[in-house]
Amino acid sequence: MISDERQRAVMEHRLSGLKRPESGWSAPVRSEALAHIQRVGLPSRRDEYWKFTRPDTLVQASAPKAALFDNDESPVFGEVDRLKVVFVDGVFDLELSDELALEGIVIDRLAAVGDQGSHWAESVYGKLEQRGQDPVVRPLAALNTAFATDGILIDVQQTPSKPISLIYVHANETSDAILHHVIRVNEGAAVTILETGPAAARFNKCMEIELADDSELHHVRAQGRDHERRAATHMFALLGARSQFKSFTLTVNGRLTRNEIYTELSGENSSAHIAGACVGDGEFHHDDTVFVTHDAENCDSRQVFKKVLRNGATGVFQGKILVKPGAQKTDGYQISQSLLLDDDSQFLAKPELEIYADDVACSHGSTSGAINEEALFYLRARGIERAEATDLLTLAFLREAVEEIESETLADEIVSRLMAWLLRHRPE
């Protein structure tokens, strides 16, 4: 709830610059989302859910300037056969994108179909986000629903032949982008969604995923490297029976990143694996906030988050497993670990379990530590230089998270990006 006039003023200021469609199928849910924000306000430093991450720059009226990061690195997933959908500073780029057509799926752009009277996405857009507002409010997601300017709506009727790759280009130093994607995977179908790039100076992105029975969604994201960019992203996934949701995020650089993932296992025997690896050097604040709700029997969930931090970088993990009454035989696992490469960096973790069923197996653990000196010496005694040995141990530390990626090609790509980053960031 809005607690004081200052918070109200911040909200009003932020909302004043935003426009939303007043007609079309998305208008009612957008109005509801706006009403929700007006009730609860935008995140403030006093919110328990924002205890470790300052939301100021995410809620202020305009995006703080973020320099573009030039480098001639080859594009991530560049070698993967994929359907490219490109947004430059949050604006769809027809030239750079492939034709939005692929057998088995229907793709629309939110901006292109938003003024229609009805659309299949109506049953998902803003709806899963609404479910995710309880028991913890997520005002930035509601803001996204209300004011998203574009996004893609993908209806996966049959398994497509290649991944759909969302590419976010950052070209303007003050860009402020709000994108909202909806993905519905129908019974028996499977799809892989890739996301890459820094996107904008400030990026608010929401992705809602509805998984029908026996469907699968694999999500692999390489969050952009621009040092000064900021992002608040949300994923909402609703899982049908025997469905599988696997999401992996690599984050390198970025002044501020808050990735929230809200997953509901609502069909029996479904499975959600959510993982992340991040490497931060210097002014880097990365927050993974994950909420997994078990609401059906025999489901399993894994949360595997690894963070490598140096030179004053900060990592945050807030992870919760909620097992609702009746969700028997739940298998819930959660691990969050940080590798602190110096004394200046910090890791803040809040792992939580809340269980209302008696026949469940849930475990969680969180650790923070330095490089293992004994292992380092062993490698060096075999002739491997300190810097290279440190990199080997760092990659080894991240491996458990990367292993959550099912596709070997995609996992290899992530590992090679990590290696390149480590090489660039070797201490002098």
């Binding site: 293992n372 292992a375 010496f377 490698l379 060096r380 075999r382 002739g383 290279e388 080894a396």
Partner: protein, 252 residues
């Protein structure tokens, strides 16, 4: 080849003196054994040779083929040809055994200005050399020493030694925890490496390893000093009478 002169070492953190003036020379082509009771400083010597942190050299010198070792980083010593088979090999989860071995081999080659070994050639070599040590491909695929039995860890050390072809091999109680068959495998591996250009320093607590690896010289270390040196006969004497006699002799 290896020349240790009046080496005095203390634990940096505690200032406790461990090595109290060790003199030892290992010539190319020879095998020297060091025996001694627990706690006499044998492992400390091996760690100081390889450059582990935590020890302060207060006096003396160590050279390998004329190069002062004590000023060098552990990786530089390895590239010069020093190899330590650890008494307790470290487990490194997440680093594959093969990746590790290949990285180490090529790092050493690079440091010496030699061309790297191609992955094809490397695979062929590893397969061949692991076979003699009865290390199966499943073990090679695992993380370094993770889930290995005591004997497997020791054989893995020897595999690394064979692959890296060092000039001076230091084996710290490689025999402990091995059954007779495993010990024979290890001894065979070592014996096949014996070569006119290579020296060995074999640290052991028991004489039995020396039945399989015939030493040229045996040294007895007690309380941070080499108190006696002799031929292989000396090891047999120790086996029969223990160290007690020697310590009494010293006290007199």
């Amino acid at each position: 080849m290896l020349k240790i002169k009046n080496l005095k070492v203390e634990l940096t953190a505690k200032g406790k003196s461990i090595l109290k003036g060790v003199d030892l020379s290992v010539e190319a082509g020879s095998v020297h054994a060091i025996m001694g009771p627990n706690g006499s400083g044998k492992s400390t010597l091996s760690y100081v040779l390889s450059g582990r942190e935590g020890y302060t050299v207060t006096d003396g010198s160590v050279t390998l083929d004329g190069t002062d070792l004590l000023d060098l980083e552990p990786e530089e010593r390895a590239a010069l040809g020093l190899f330590l088979a650890f008494q307790y090999p470290t487990e490194i989860p997440g680093v594959g055994n093969m990746t590790f071995l290949r990285t180490a081999l090529n790092a050493q080659r690079k440091a010496r200005g030699e061309p790297e070994m191609s992955s094809g050639e490397f695979l062929k070599e590893v397969r061949e050399k692991s076979r003699t040590l009865q290390i199966d491909s499943e073990m090679l695929k695992r993380s370094v020493n993770v889930g290995f039995s005591g004997g497997e860890k020791k054989r893995n050390e020897i595999l690394q030694m064979i692959m890296l072809e060092p000039k001076l091999c230091v084996l710290d109680e490689t025999d402990s925890g091995l059954d007779v068959d495993a010990m024979k495998l290890v001894a065979k591996g070592v014996n096949e490496l014996r070569h006119s250009g290579r020296g060995f320093l074999v640290i052991t607590h028991y004489q039995r390893l020396l039945d399989h690896i015939q030493p040229d010289v045996v040294h007895i270390m007690v309380n941070g000093r080499i108190v006696k040196s002799g031929t292989a006969e000396l090891a047999l004497e120790v086996e029969k009478n223990g160290y007690a006699d020697m310590m009494v002799e010293l006290a007199e």
